[in-house]
């Protein structure tokens, strides 16, 4: 068991290192010359050379990478070209809203998704099942920005139930979280449904029923506990999916998280910020997957014993 | 005995490494035997005996860790890839599971023709004729060639596998448990087919099985393996009528006999087959042997011929006095 934990942590560490290298490479091969951007139009060749030396851009690749890594280790993600502030500070200031959104979104996804999945599995084959599955399908096929705009239009613009974006109160959180929650629940409901169907097929369910257990007990205590196993691993992946969509949702709803930061940076082609957000997201994904992998043996005794 | 036997296996050993070197598994340990053309050798053993590995070593599907396999005066390990590939025309394998050894996406015709395609035998038009006649000779119905393996029963699929094996006119066929996956009533059909083909095509068989009753039916010589080592070797008659090794005796006693007067008490072996990673010291069989002596726990017995019949070899301390070194 300990071996497994060490292996997984080691694996994640290597991936993090790899991520940093790729991020660095992307920065390195930029055609846009950051030096000119910082120096301005009328800089003399001397000034440019000076800035280049200052930024360490005249050194060989590996030396620059080492410099980059050591900066990273100290939490320095570089400087925004245009805002002249440290990227790390910018990201830090916006991390909390994104985390709030992520946790609420995943909570709602699980709430809707698991309920729908269990319900669909119990009513298998009937219309309820089919409609839930089609709805999940549509959820999975729709791009987030379109649903976000739709939700905003209906509930904020037309119905005035919620404010049109912004941050600060619970009311502001509802629409973006619900959008993500409903869209993301599609994945969970499908997996939960097929997982429940698999479990319900098993002999131990038949045994529980034969012993006279109530249907509710059978479903929630026996079936659910076993069916939920694949879901745990999915949560780790979900963090990744969330990070992927965070730019879009935050910008549509005006949610001041790192996604919106990236959106603004995209408009201005402020590469360090974009890279910083990408890096932070990748780190979040690796950590998310690691946690999912570490929790799974506790939830699934079969995996624990196999280790 | 021939000075140049048809097939000569000499002190072949195969060690597998698991866990990047941490576990060494000696699947086959110093096996030697000679086979003449037209003979059938039955290799008998249970799980972990190494019989399947030995079968693959004989055909050079696996490289021996040490020792040599000489077929038709050629040392198989010394052949180049190209030479080996050409040699494969003469030595074929029939696998145990007729369900998984045939590619489900190929038609029966394609499957039987595949060896011809691989070795570019005959022209493309002539191949079809040969496929048809081979299919007929193994007893497949005429319209089989366009159908898929899953449409056939186990016994018929094994016939397809046999057709694939004989179509290149091989001299040696290694059959790895060819009837173990089949229903008992079908087993004898397939065995009889194999015997008939052997007669017609002058084949040499190596027949691997855990089932002594099947081997009794078909083998000229029998080799009994236990945990990678040969414990007894002899002719069919000798092994069944004059078994020496306690393990051989136990296996034979377990063979169902129809005539109630032939039935003897079953010898029940103690314990389970140990894992190949932790073989008992001394004679590997000692923990389960009811005749084990102190020496058996310490010293590995050598494979020695018994005095009354030099073709009959045993690896057991009980018979050391009776035997002489080869």
């Amino acid at each position: 068991m300990k071996n497994y934990v060490i292996k997984r942590i080691g694996h994640s560490a290597i991936i993090l290192l790899g991520i940093s290298f790729i991020t660095f490479l992307l920065l390195y091969i930029l055609p846009a010359d950051p030096v000119r951007q910082i120096a301005g139009r009328s800089a003399t060749p001397e000034t440019i050379a000076n800035i280049r030396r200052e930024l360490g851009l005249d050194q060989p690749l590996l030396a620059q990478y080492w410099h980059y890594i050591s900066q990273l280790a100290q939490g320095d993600l570089g400087r925004s070209y245009l805002q002249k502030t440290e990227v790390t500070l910018l990201i830090q200031s916006r991390l909390t809203p994104t985390l709030i959104l992520m946790i609420s979104a995943i909570f709602l996804e699980l709430l809707f998704g698991l309920t729908a999945g269990i319900f669909a599995s119990v009513k298998r084959g009937k219309n309820a099942d089919k409609s839930i599955m089609i709805a999940s399908f549509i959820g999975v096929s729709s791009p987030q920005f379109i649903v976000a705009i739709l939700v905003l239009y209906i509930f904020a613009v037309k119905l005035h139930w919620f404010p049109i974006g912004g941050y600060g109160t619970f009311h502001n959180l509802v629409l973006p979280a619900m959008t993500l929650g409903i869209l993301g629940s599609g994945w969970y409901s499908r997996v939960m449904r097929s997982s429940m169907l698999d479990v319900l097929r098993n002999d131990y369910i038949r045994t529980a029923r034969a012993k006279g257990a109530s249907e509710g007990r059978v479903i929630f205590i026996h079936a659910f506990r076993n069916a939920i196993l694949p879901i745990v691993a999915m949560i780790g992946i979900d963090i990744g999916v969330f990070m992927g969509g965070v730019v879009v949702v935050e910008s549509v709803f005006g949610w001041p998280g790192i996604g919106q930061l990236a959106w603004q940076a995209i408009q201005r082609v402020d590469i360090p910020i974009i890279m910083g957000v990408t890096l932070v997201s990748a780190i979040a994904i690796v950590i998310g997957n690691l946690i999912a992998d570490l929790i799974t043996p506790f939830v699934d005794p079969r995996i624990r014993i196999r280790q | 005995m021939n000075s140049h036997p048809f097939l000569s296996v000499s002190d072949v050993t195969k060690t597998f490494q698991e866990n990047s070197g941490k576990n060494k598994i000696k699947a086959v340990d110093g096996v030697s035997f000679n086979l003449d053309q037209g003979e059938t050798l039955g290799i008998v053993g249970e799980t972990g005996s190494g019989k399947s590995t030995l079968g693959r070593l004989i055909l050079n599907l696996l490289e021996p860790t040490s020792g040599t396999v000489t077929f038709n005066s050629k040392n198989l390990s010394s052949l180049s890839t190209k030479e080996m590939r050409t040699s494969r025309r003469e030595m074929q394998m029939i696998f145990q599971d007729p369900f998984s050894s045939l590619d489900p996406r190929m038609t029966v015709g394609d499957l039987i023709r595949e060896p011809l395609d691989i070795h570019k035998i005959k022209s493309k038009q002539d191949r079809h004729e040969l496929v048809q006649s081979t299919a007929k000779s193994v007893g497949l119905p005429a319209n089989s060639l366009d159908r898929y393996p899953h449409e056939f029963s186990g016994g018929q699929r094994q016939r397809i596998a046999i057709a694939r094996a004989i179509i290149t006119n091989p001299k040696l066929i290694v059959a790895d448990e060819p009837v173990s996956a089949l229903d008992v009533s079908i087993q004898s059909q397939i065995l009889n087919l194999l015997l008939e083909l052997q007669r017609k095509l002058e084949l040499t068989y190596i027949f691997i099985s855990h089932d002594l009753s099947v081997v009794q039916h078909i083998a000229d010589k029998i080799m009994v393996l236990y945990l990678g080592k040969v414990v007894e070797f002899g002719t069919n008659f000798e092994i069944f009528n004059n078994p020496h090794h306690p393990y051989t005796k136990a296996l034979i006693s377990a063979v169902p006999k129809i005539n109630p007067h032939d039935r003897t008490d079953r010898i029940v072996l103690l314990g389970d087959i140990p894992s190949t990673t932790s073989k008992p010291p001394g004679c590997h069989f000692n923990p389960r042997c009811h005749l084990a002596m102190d020496m058996c726990r310490v010293v590995e017995p050598a494979l020695l011929a018994i005095k009354s019949d030099p073709g009959h070899q045993v690896s057991c301390h009980l018979f050391v006095d009776e035997s002489f070194t080869q």
Partner: protein
């Protein structure tokens, strides 16, 4: 093929193929179907204040913020989205299959190196990676397609890897080897035919992913750049009018959703039919 017959019987497949048919025809016959050229700005296409017109007799679906006919732009947008979808997906499938087969068949150090690399790439959220790449490389239709391909090949590689691994271990592969087959022959005659259904399924599903990604990138302003119409960038351009002329956002949005949905339905149906482990499970 009985699989084809079974597929056709399903209602979702009929629905999906119909939608895909409409979209593909629009894309191919765009110059014949579209009432106007997509990039022509009409002075009469805007109100006196300069806002877009709603649906009327001349412009069936109305105009956009620059007075261009929305219907024509939607039709030509189909062309852009389809082109990018096919190109990006095609490249992704090629690269992914190539690496997946190599990793799965050769295994060993090459195999694990390739798989480690895909692990690495999967740690990056697809959209952010695409954004970064788009920001670095100057935009053009092909660059957008290439960027999407760079992001999407990884998943295909992993699926192909797992499949190749499991197929390579089957006994009929060993049987072919014992007959004397070369690796090339085994790949060509045994492994690829077994991979074909999976590649087909993932290609179909992949088009949906690529189109969604392109739409999102265009919506963010870094995908297909105007004036070339793409459903995503129509939304991008007309966002400010979304309260007064919501159809400018929702019609292209509907098109995107229908497109992705049909490919998803089709791919899912294909997967049900072609994956024997799914057979017997009423989905």
């Amino acid at each position: 093929m009985s699989t084809l017959k079974r597929l056709i019987k399903r209602k979702v497949v009929i629905f999906s193929v119909a939608i895909i048919g409409i979209i593909v025809s629009s894309a191919i016959f765009a110059p014949l179907i579209a009432p106007f050229a997509p990039e022509t700005q009409f002075r009469e296409g805007l109100t006196l204040e300069g806002s877009p017109l709603g649906p009327n007799s001349k412009f069936i679906l109305g105009t956009d913020l620059l007075g261009r006919d929305l219907l024509s732009r939607l039709i030509y947008g189909a062309r852009t989205s389809l082109l990018i979808g096919l190109l990006a997906n095609g490249v992704a499938v090629l690269i992914g299959t190539f690496f997946g087969i190599i990793a799965g068949f050769l295994r060993g150090r090459i195999g694990s190196a390739i798989m480690r690399f895909t692990d690495l790439m999967m740690a990056f959220p697809a959209l952010l990676l695409a954004i970064t790449l788009s920001a670095i490389f100057s935009p053009s239709l092909f660059i957008v397609a290439l960027v999407i391909a760079m992001v999407n090949w990884v998943q295909i590689a992993r699926v192909v890897y797992t499949q190749t691994l499991s197929i390579s271990e089957k006994e009929f592969i060993e049987a072919s080897r014992s007959l004397g087959a070369t690796n090339t022959r085994i790949l060509r005659c045994h492994i690829l035919p077994h991979l074909a259904p999976f590649i087909l399924v993932w290609s179909t599903l992949g088009i949906s992913t690529t189109v969604l990604l392109e739409a999102t990138l265009s919506y963010l302003g870094i995908g297909v750049r105007p004036p070339t119409p793409s459903w995503g960038n129509i939304i991008f351009e007309n966002q400010t009018y979304f309260q007064t002329a919501p159809w400018l956002v929702f019609l292209p949005g509907l098109a995107i959703v229908m497109f992705a949905l049909s490919f998803n339905f089709l791919g899912d149906a294909l997967r049900d039919e072609l994956d024997p482990t799914q057979r017997g499970r009423e989905n």
